[in-house]
């Protein structure tokens, strides 16, 4: 009978997960440029786009730029997909991303296409997004993303994207 390994202390696990997330999000200049942040609960990620005046597209309303919203949704989709792709290795301790230089991080999924539905005007407030991977194949993946502002039940945008996964790591 094999002896079950003693579970790691929760702080060690959280620290490793948060360090990996920080390394992945911090490595992409465009994510920093837009000011997108990620919150994590277990393996679930929530993208946050804090409102700033530079995100405005229509100053008369004012409303968020559709391009800022599209980028926010795509960033959340790619990050969620990459996070899920790396999760098992991170958890197994096979992959350590803490403090890694951007150039040494695992290759990212590539977007094939991305379709955004603008359901409501983006208000000059913070926006939130969560992605759901509807298919994760070895080569292709499909991801749905939903974004809301004040009220989770009233989405202001949703998107669907297809991605090519990176070649397996050795």
């Amino acid at each position: 009978m094999s002896v079950r390994k003693r579970p790691e202390p929760v702080q060690v696990i959280k620290q490793r997960r948060d360090a990996a997330l920080k390394a992945l999000a911090g490595a992409v200049p465009y994510i920093r440029f837009l000011g997108i942040e990620f919150e994590r609960r277990g393996d679930e990620l929530t993208g946050i786009l804090p409102f700033r005046d530079v995100l405005i597209g229509n100053p008369l309303l004012p409303a968020l730029h559709g391009g800022a919203t599209a980028a926010f949704l795509e960033v959340t989709a790619v990050m969620t997909l990459n996070w899920s792709y790396l999760w098992d290795d991170l958890e197994a301790g096979k992959l350590d991303l803490e403090g890694r230089a951007p150039a040494d991080l695992p290759r990212l999924p590539k977007t094939v296409d991305f379709t955004v539905d603008y359901l409501r005007t983006g208000l000059p407030r913070d926006a939130y997004a969560r992605a759901r991977i509807t298919r994760a194949g070895r080569r292709y993946a499909s991801v749905q993303v939903e974004a809301w502002q004040d009220n989770k039940d009233r989405l202001y945008a949703q998107a669907m994207g297809h991605f090519v996964m990176p070649a397996p790591r050795d």
Partner: protein
């Protein structure tokens, strides 16, 4: 007509988010718009290769399509994106300016249908294409 095109140009050029990304209006009129977005480090999506983030290309496409709708002769006012699909054909070459050309190819009283293409210096091979539907404010 000229005034409306002029207004559309000034309006698009002043959009805070477009300014943030460094977009430069080239041509606008009669339902067609061309906008440049020069390469800069802040737009990078892949730190290993230096390739621009798809989201930045989306923002350029969205702006360019919106500009094409605004300057369409049958549109009386502003516009908003209903939906936009982007197909990414290839990675844009790092260091090169991306140019988007959008054409408003059909309009109804309430909807404008738009196509766009994004090119870098290799104009034979598009970086991305887009199709979208936008709101229209028909002339009374």
């Amino acid at each position: 007509m000229v005034d409306k095109t002029k207004f559309a140009r000034q309006f698009i050029e002043a959009l805070p988010h477009s300014v943030m990304l460094g977009m430069e209006m080239q041509e606008i009129g009669d339902g067609v718009a061309t906008i440049n977005m020069p390469y800069k480090d802040e737009l990078i999506g892949d730190p290993v290769t230096g390739v621009i983030h798809g989201g930045a290309v989306s923002a350029l496409m969205d702006t360019c399509c919106g500009a094409a709708v605004m300057c369409h002769p049958e549109n009386a006012g502003g516009t908003a994106t209903i939906d936009l699909r982007i197909d990414y054909m290839r990675a844009a070459t790092p260091g090169q300016t991306i140019t988007a050309v959008a054409t408003c190819y059909h309009v109804t009283r309430s909807v404008a249908f738009v196509r766009a293409v994004a090119l870098d210096e290799d104009t034979e091979r598009p970086v991305a294409t887009a199709t979208g539907a936008f709101t229209m404010e028909a002339r009374k």
